[in-house]
């Protein structure tokens, strides 16, 4: 069976910098940090991390109430990001309802804000009379994906993968496979998540959240740095519109990159502990899927969240395959860890680095950790032509994903 080639023809972003891919890239290129101190975290006993990166400057009111009423914040982010991607791809609403467009959008967890309201009624008030009819639709596992479908009139297949912090990258990979197998011509793919103190608390209790920079939020997280002390929770949504090359050419669509390889694997040894061996397996499978060798990769966008073990394990895995020369950077220093959105938001940034022939360095990486610095950690903005890039998403929760992009402009 001849697989179809899959390209990216649209992108949309809701990030801690605000709305839009242009704002995301402008902020990353300027080395800005989206991390802020969150006062409400200080009031919660046992939570030592008081920093996060929160979405700002969006207007949910642009979504009609009839659609917005079943949305938590993460669904709002997803809809706005999808609208941007479709606008960039110049896809009409008629095209959305033609059956050729599908959706693969997931989150790490359902809306905790909405669950909290439900349990306040249930446990504290012991009275469900105030529960709105739309509450349940905000906490269904496929809420983001279906709300996008409903708002944009998309009637192709809808899937809602959940693979913790690997979700966004995995969703793009699954969309790539669906198109490659000819099941849909186009797929809106990515991850979305909304911030809640529960997320910070969950990382904090396992000593994986940054706690030492509450008074200097812009200095954390610090991927690969010797003074890193954990992740900073964030929120947002990144959406890639994938399309078969055949369909994109037929439409005369602008093509931003090609997806040539994908792998997603499990680390069954431990749900929490990162493993260089399983990361290496995942990256090798992606290379195999793309039909390229390690020396073909010009840039690696790491998962690297700034946990002590995770960054070391990923560095080891990268070194085992790629040695010390391939440039590696993480965007968590700018964005924090946008959870399910991280893979897809960082893929968008990587595609734009390919377009601009540059590598964005890791923010807050000042003194590379001795146990990470055997790979080529990028600390300054570099001009570099990127033909192939590798994106990693190695989740707390045991699921790994790696995806390989090819610059379409540089290799037609």
């Amino acid at each position: 069976m001849q697989l179809k080639r899959v390209v990216v023809t649209g992108m949309g972003a809701i990030s801690p910098f605000g709305k839009g891919v242009d704002l995301l890239m402008e902020s990353l290129l300027k080395g800005k940090s989206g991390i802020v101190m969150v006062p409400e975290l200080k009031d919660i006993g046992g939570v030592r991390s008081h920093v996060a990166a929160l979405v700002k400057d969006i207007d949910p009111g642009v979504i009609p109430r009839k659609h917005r009423r079943t949305m938590s914040r993460m669904s709002i982010y997803a809809v706005l990001a999808c609208q941007e991607a479709l606008t960039q791809a110049e896809l009409s609403s008629e095209y959305c309802s033609g059956g050729n467009l599908g959706i693969a959008i997931g989150s790490t967890i359902v809306s905790i804000d909405t669950l909290q309201k439900f349990f306040e009624d249930y446990l504290i008030e012991k009275n469900m009379e105030q529960m709105r009819s739309t509450t349940f639709f905000q906490i269904m596992n496929h809420s983001c994906a279906f709300n996008v479908s409903q708002t944009l009139g998309i009637n192709g297949r809808v899937i809602a993968p959940a693979a913790a912090c690997s979700t966004g990258c995995q969703a793009v990979g699954l969309g790539y496979e669906i198109i490659a197998f000819g099941k849909q011509d186009l797929m809106l793919c990515g991850g979305a998540d909304e911030f809640h103190p529960l997320t910070t608390a969950s990382f904090d209790i396992i000593n994986a959240a940054s706690i030492g920079y509450n008074d200097r939020p812009h200095q954390t997280p610090r991927p690969f740095d010797r003074d890193r002390d954990g992740i900073v929770c964030a929120e947002g949504c990144g959406i890639l519109l994938l399309e078969s090359l055949e369909s994109a050419r037929k439409r005369g669509a602008a093509i931003f990159a090609e997806i040539t390889g994908f792998s997603t694997t499990s680390n069954p040894q431990n749900i929490a502990d990162p493993s260089a061996a399983s990361m290496e397996t995942c990256m090798r499978k992606a290379l195999l899927d793309a039909g390229v060798e390690s020396q073909d990769i010009d840039y690696i966008n790491a998962h690297a969240t700034a946990t002590i073990r995770g960054d070391i394990e990923e560095s080891r895995a990268i070194y085992e395959i790629f040695g010390k020369d391939v440039p590696v950077s993480s965007l968590k220093g700018h964005l924090g860890h946008t959870m399910a959105a991280s893979g897809s938001l960082e893929l968008i940034a990587t595609i734009n680095m390919m377009k601009r022939n540059c590598v964005i360095p890791t923010l807050n990486l000042e003194n590379p950790d001795d146990l990470c610095k055997n790979i080529n950690l990028v600390q300054q903005l570099e001009n570099r032509q990127i033909r192939y890039a590798l994106k990693n998403s190695f989740a707390l929760g045991g699921v790994n994903s790696s995806l390989i992009l090819r610059s379409y402009e540089n290799d037609k």
Binding site: R65, K66, R69, E129, Q130, R132, S133, T134
Partner: protein, 89 residues
């Protein structure tokens, strides 16, 4: 103090406008809930909660609610309910 019918109608309209983001110009008694105000079955459920909160009464189990079709039907239903309560007290 006893509310006038006009005051009750105003409270109803304002509550529904706020909850369902309705256009105040469309709030005429003849307005059909589904066709003119573009409400649906989910909104109908929430409308009961909105009215119960606005007037501090319980109407969820009232059979007459099922017959409501227009904004005017809501006005009449609520006014009658409030007058019944006043008479009972």
């Amino acid at each position: 103090m006893r509310m006038t019918n006009e005051e009750i109608i105003q409270i109803i309209n304002n509550s529904l406008i706020k909850e369902f983001e309705l256009d105040s110009k469309k709030m005429i008694p003849e307005a059909m809930l589904y066709d003119d105000l573009e409400l649906d079955s989910l909104d109908r459920v929430d409308m009961v909660i909105v009215l119960e909160n606005a007037f501090k009464f319980k109407i969820k189990e009232e059979k007459e609610i099922r017959d409501i079709r227009t904004l005017g039907d809501i006005h009449n239903f609520v006014i009658n309910k409030i007058r019944d309560i006043e008479r009972a007290s």
